[in-house]
């Protein structure tokens, strides 16, 4: 937001991705951390930099945010901060969303699937249908990018 040079902005995003990958790693979310490091810090940086080739490196003029926008932002921030107090305690075991399903997955994954990594057994096994939808979404996204960025036939 405060960086005028887009190149430094991209580097800041990359560093942010790497740091959040480290945070995920410390929270024992190794799979998420691996994804964040590969997608956030790897591929998206490359794509941002390829986009940067088509535009100017510097931001032309920075807009000063208008007064109603600031009020709206502060209002939303206050509302969200107020809602945070209703969230369950971080990592608490006995809450509703943690009590039934995840316990089943953790206990049964080894005997039902023979797969020690619970994340994999949930993603590909128990929630296989969701993952199918995810793959189809990625496929459609790839097709869309190809459609938008395809080479124009040289008739102009």
């Amino acid at each position: 937001m405060f960086v005028k040079n887009l190149f430094s902005a991209i580097m800041a995003t990359t560093i942010f991705s790497l740091i959040s990958a480290l945070i995920f790693l410390l929270l024992d979310g190794v799979d998420v951390s691996l994804t964040e490091a590969a997608v956030g810090a790897g591929i998206s940086t490359i794509l941002f930099l390829s986009t940067l080739k088509h535009t100017d490196v510097m931001v032309k003029k920075s807009r000063t945010p208008s007064f109603p926008l600031i009020v709206l932002f502060l209002l939303l921030l206050g509302l969200l901060s107020f809602a945070v107090s209703d969230l369950p305690e971080f990592g608490k075991f006995n809450q509703t969303s943690n009590s039934q399903v995840s316990e089943y997955y953790i206990n049964k994954s080894k005997t039902e699937m023979g797969v020690p990594n619970v994340v994999t057994s949930i993603l590909a096994g128990y929630r296989g249908f969701d993952t199918l939808g995810e793959v189809v979404v990625i496929f459609i996204a790839g097709i869309s990018v190809l459609g938008i960025l395809r080479k124009r036939k040289s008739n102009s």
Partner: protein
């Protein structure tokens, strides 16, 4: 980039390691961290690095745009096939228990094939997006 010595040498050393790590994450995803999605991205990142250093022409001679498109679709088809195979062999859609002689083996086989489909699709989508971003810059 081919004339820069340090990036070229470092890339040459790194690419086998990156690709091997991608394959490890792909095929060892049941037992350690990772899975098809992560492996696909890592594999694509290695290939894109090769493209950046040695040029898109050499990269496209290894994996052409059309091959990549077919492989991208093949991943989704493989996933769906595993799902329908479950129905054909007497179970529900995406039920892996019937794929092999014992349910555990069926689960392992099903998860393996499904992850392979995910990996194929993801890596080829990434490579294709990279190709099409750079095709534009060639036009200008």
């Amino acid at each position: 980039m081919r004339h820069h010595t340090i990036p070229r040498i470092v890339t040459k050393l790194l690419i086998p390691v990156i690709l091997l790590f991608g394959l490890y994450v792909q095929f060892h995803g049941d037992f350690s961290a990772g899975g098809g999605f992560q492996a696909g991205v890592i594999f694509a990142a290695g290939f894109i690095l090769y493209n950046i250093i040695f040029g898109l022409d050499i990269g496209k001679s290894i994996l052409s745009v059309n091959t990549s498109k077919s492989l991208m679709a093949l991943g989704v088809i493989l996933y769906l096939m595993v799902g329908f195979l479950g129905i054909l062999l007497g179970g529900n859609f995406l039920e892996y228990n019937y794929l092999s002689n014992t349910p555990i083996n069926g689960q392992l086989l099903g998860i393996f094939l499904v992850e392979l489909g995910v990996g194929l699709t993801v890596s080829n989508v990434m490579v294709l997006v990279f190709y099409s971003f750079n095709d534009i810059s060639e036009e200008k």
